[in-house]
């Protein structure tokens, strides 16, 4: 029973101010939700960003003639510029050109661990040269994963590059080895 030497409301407040403790499973449940949002957001962030990019890309007139076919994606390669002798230099960046032949695509971008999978403003939007999409970017030496995003939603591994082990978003990605240049 309350101490009637104090007002009932004061005693009520005192009682209500007792801490309410939740166990650590609460933290885990919250963090499961948070990590799910994080993963979804990474994926959506890429798509959303590319959606904006797609709106400013221009579909070539001749592409209509090819539209009936499924987007045929043929990579003609990943061409490290300034190749030459291979000698690892930690932290060195090497310009890498990414190329994808996709005549029917409306937009192509490159996403990988080297550009935070396109989060924020880091996605590499390729330029269209008669269906050959290409973009160059400096990439740190080392082993990387990457993929092409076609039309802002189609995740395509580079068919000519080795497939990376595992995947980041439940989608296949390709392996990229960037070696240092001594030039």
């Amino acid at each position: 029973m309350p101490d009637w030497g104090r007002t009932t409301l004061e005693l009520m407040v005192q009682e209500l101010q007792h801490p309410v403790r939740l166990d650590e499973s609460f933290d885990r449940r919250v963090m499961v939700r948070v990590r799910r949002i994080y993963a979804e957001r990474r994926h959506r962030g890429i798509i959303g960003w590319l959606g904006a990019a797609a709106s400013i890309s221009r579909r070539p007139a001749w592409a209509a003639a090819l539209a009936a076919s499924v987007v045929a994606v043929v990579s003609i390669g990943l061409i490290p510029h300034g190749g030459g002798k291979r000698d690892a230099h930690v932290g060195q960046t090497i310009p890498v050109q990414f190329v994808l032949v996709a005549p029917d695509a409306r937009s192509v971008a490159v996403v990988g661990d080297f550009n935070n999978w396109g989060l924020g403003d880091t996605a590499l939007v390729a330029e269209n040269h008669n269906g050959v999409w290409s973009v160059s970017a400096p990439v740190h030496t080392g082993v990387h994963r990457y993929a092409f995003l076609v039309n802002g939603k189609q995740w395509v591994a580079d068919p000519t590059a080795p497939r990376a082990a595992g995947d980041d978003f439940g989608q296949p990605s390709s392996a990229l080895v960037v070696e240092a240049s001594t030039q």
Binding site: M1, P2, T8, L9, L11, M12, V13, E15, L16, Q17, H18, P19, V20, R21, L22, F26, D27, R29, V30, M31, R33, V34, R35, I37, Y38, N116, L119
Partner: protein
């Protein structure tokens, strides 16, 4: 503020780390505010299950909108505002479902382990009296007296004017005095 690892563990530093993609830094914010805000949610909603759901939802909403937290140093206050709104929604939904305010059985059980049986009864009376208040009055009373906020802070959190809040608090106190007196005179 430095944590055990020597890293800055202030709210602002943790928010910055989360925004830079270090998602696990958010768990420190969850641990920091979990119990503090659970009290408000439990008293406001009247049962632990709804309170935990509201609090989880507040934490996830805050995470989603973290980039819009204008003053990361005051992350806690910003989170609390989200929680207060979430409790309002949850309370309104419960009313639409036709449910009544129920007691926090777990809290009552815990109280009975720590206090004599009379204390448990007293606690039950308090919970029942709180449940008799309108949601607006309960919210104002809890913010003012249990969370010990000033009226300006309450106005900022609730979006309600100071004079209206004072009126709600006054009416809540009047109602509680009557309810508790009825209990003890019965």
């Amino acid at each position: 503020m430095e944590g055990p690892t020597g890293m800055d563990s202030s709210d602002a530093a943790l928010v910055a780390r989360v925004l830079h993609g270090e998602v696990n830094a958010y768990s420190a914010l969850v641990s920091r505010y979990r119990d503090k805000y659970a009290r408000y949610a439990v008293h406001m909603l009247g049962n632990r299950e709804d309170a935990e759901e509201a609090l989880q939802d507040a934490f996830t909403r805050a995470y989603r909108s973290l980039a819009r937290c204008e003053d990361p140093e005051r992350f806690g206050a910003w989170l609390f505002r989200i929680l207060v709104n979430r409790c309002r929604t949850s309370g309104a939904r419960r009313v639409r479902r036709g449910q009544t305010f129920v007691h926090d059985e777990t809290a009552l059980l815990n109280a009975s382990e720590e206090h004599p049986a009379e204390q448990t009864m007293w606690r039950e009376e308090i919970e029942r009296a709180l449940g008799e208040l309108s949601a607006d009055q309960r919210e104002a009373f809890l913010l003012k007296y249990v969370e010990e906020l000033g009226y300006d802070e309450m106005a900022e959190i609730t979006g309600v004017g100071v004079s209206a809040l004072k009126m709600r608090v006054m009416r809540a106190c009047d109602r509680l005095r009557v309810l508790l007196r009825e209990v003890h005179s019965a």
